[in-house]
């Protein structure tokens, strides 16, 4: 049956999922800047705010160019439980959980954008995904280093 099995996200679905990922990164980084005193965590969070604001702009440009609705960077489904867990922690526990979440969230985001860059149906979003992938990859490496610095 053609409806069965894994599906490649449609352009708007993909755009919405990237916006959710940006939304979570921005909210988590702002939480970190408010709650963490660890200089490495704060530096990482500042980088996330700067980079994800830019990535969100690139996403909005690509969606407009393709005649889609530019999605807002909102925290969605699974990310909201991540954020709730983060907001309830303090001190070292917060820093460790932030590092763990960043490693996982960027692993997930990298899987999604790489897959769309390769197989997605919308050319503007494909190109946006292709230029985001190396940035997310660097974030993932930085998140792993952050995690290691706290163990």
């Amino acid at each position: 049956m053609p409806t069965e099995g894994p599906k490649m996200p449609k352009p708007q679905e993909f755009a919405d999922s990237v916006a959710q990922s940006d939304g979570y990164e921005l909210a988590a980084a702002q939480t970190a800047l408010a709650q963490s005193r660890n200089p490495q965590v704060r530096a990482f969070a500042e980088r996330m705010v700067a980079d994800h604001e830019q990535m969100d702009q690139a996403l909005r440009d690509a969606t407009r160019a393709s005649g889609l609705v530019p999605p807002r960077p909102q925290v969605g489904g699974d990310q909201s439980s991540f954020l709730a867990a983060l907001q309830s922690l303090r001190g070292d526990e917060f820093d460790r959980e932030y590092g763990r979440q960043q490693m996982l969230a960027h692993t997930s985001a990298l899987t999604v954008v790489r897959s769309y860059a390769e197989k997605g149906s919308d050319a503007n979003l494909r190109s946006m995904a292709a230029s985001s992938a190396p940035i997310i990859e660097r974030h993932l490496q930085a998140a792993r280093q952050l995690q290691q610095s706290m163990t």
Binding site: E4, K7, E13, S17, L104, A105, T107, S108, T111, V112
Partner: protein
């Protein structure tokens, strides 16, 4: 993972074998080193940290066509093949389990056989490879195994399934309505009537048809078990269709318990949280969710089917005789049921 020589396998060996295939879970090895087996028993001694007991995300990106095979998942799910030890809790019982080839149904099938029950499993023809392994495991436990492939969306097949199971097992006193269909759709606008209907047929109609056909054969003391989900209580946005079938399951369990309690038949449900099964990697979860599957659970990892086996046993066995109309969970800390 080889499934031979099960009962003599120790928990320590089981974890080591599992861990050897999972490079991403170094903590697993230390957990297994701490779990020293008692001689002649597969039961671990000492405390095992539930966070480190099984693989954690990130997982390798992987997608299979529906319905997917457990044998092709990385890491392979643990259904208790090497760890479940029975003690006669279901001696000479006769069970039918739908979706018994993989996931929670497979964990229940293995546990039931090792607890002394004869077991019939249903599965889709595409799942034959997984089902063969389960049949072998049931036989290795010294019990009768009956394999009945077929699509539960067909009412005639559901009736035939029950009739065949009753005939082959020489009766029936445990019905586990476990098979489920789950396909992630991020928008209701992308959900076709065909997909909605297939989900309703598999998850709601099939239990209705099967239980209706089975009831005339169920004597007082029999048990009916439905697999519901944390989704019944806290639905994900992309599982609009699936989650409502799990809410329906939670609800039919409570209704039928009232209807059948006076006849001496118990009806209960099992509500898993995120569990590592083929359902997830064959369209049930998005690609991005698969690689971080279970990450948001307070235990930081998905559950393994083996971690629910004891619940299916508990709800079927005579020791649980006052439990009916209830939902037992294994939610990883996410709060439901």
């Amino acid at each position: 993972m080889k499934d031979d020589d099960i009962t003599s396998q120790s928990r320590r060996k089981a974890l080591g074998a599992f861990g050897a295939t999972v490079a991403a879970a170094p903590a697993l090895m230390s957990a297994s080193a701490n779990a020293q087996p008692a001689s002649g028993s597969a039961r671990p001694q000492g405390l095992i940290d539930p966070r480190d007991k099984y693989p954690k995300p990130p997982f390798a990106s992987q997608q299979q066509d529906w319905p997917g095979l457990a044998s092709k998942m990385n890491p392979r799910p643990d259904h208790g093949e090497k760890s479940y030890v029975g003690s006669g809790r279901l001696a000479d019982r006769k069970a039918l389990i739908t979706g018994g080839d993989s996931g929670m149904g497979r964990a229940a099938a293995i546990a039931y056989a090792r607890e002394g029950a004869d077991v019939a499993i249903n599965y889709l023809p595409a799942e034959e490879q997984d089902a063969r392994e389960v049949v072998d495991l049931i036989r290795q436990a010294g019990r009768k195994a009956v394999a009945i492939p077929g699509d539960l969306r067909d009412e005639d097949f559901c009736r035939r399934l029950v009739a065949d199971a009753v005939r082959e097992l020489g009766g029936l006193d445990i019905v586990v309505s476990n098979a489920g269909r789950q396909q992630s759709r991020s928008s209701i606008l992308d959900l076709t009537t065909e997909e909605f209907d297939a989900t309703m047929k598999t998850n709601i109609y099939a239990p209705f048809w099967i239980i209706k056909a089975a009831l005339p054969h169920l004597k007082p003391g029999s048990a009916i078990i439905g697999t519901t989900s944390e989704q019944a209580y806290d639905p994900s946005p992309d599982l609009y269709h699936y989650a409502q079938t799990k809410a329906a399951t939670m609800n039919y369990v409570k209704s039928l318990a009232k209807q059948l309690g006076p006849k001496g038949i118990r009806v209960n449900g099992v509500a898993p949280g995120p569990v590592w099964t083929p359902l997830q990697i064959s369209g049930g979860a998005s690609e991005g969710k698969v690689v971080t599957f279970g990450a948001t659970a307070p235990l930081g990892r998905p559950g393994q089917p083996a971690e629910l086996a004891g619940i299916y046993v508990r709800l079927a066995e005579d020791d649980g005789s006052y439990t009916t109309g209830n939902i037992y969970g294994a939610g990883g800390g996410q709060g439901n049921p």
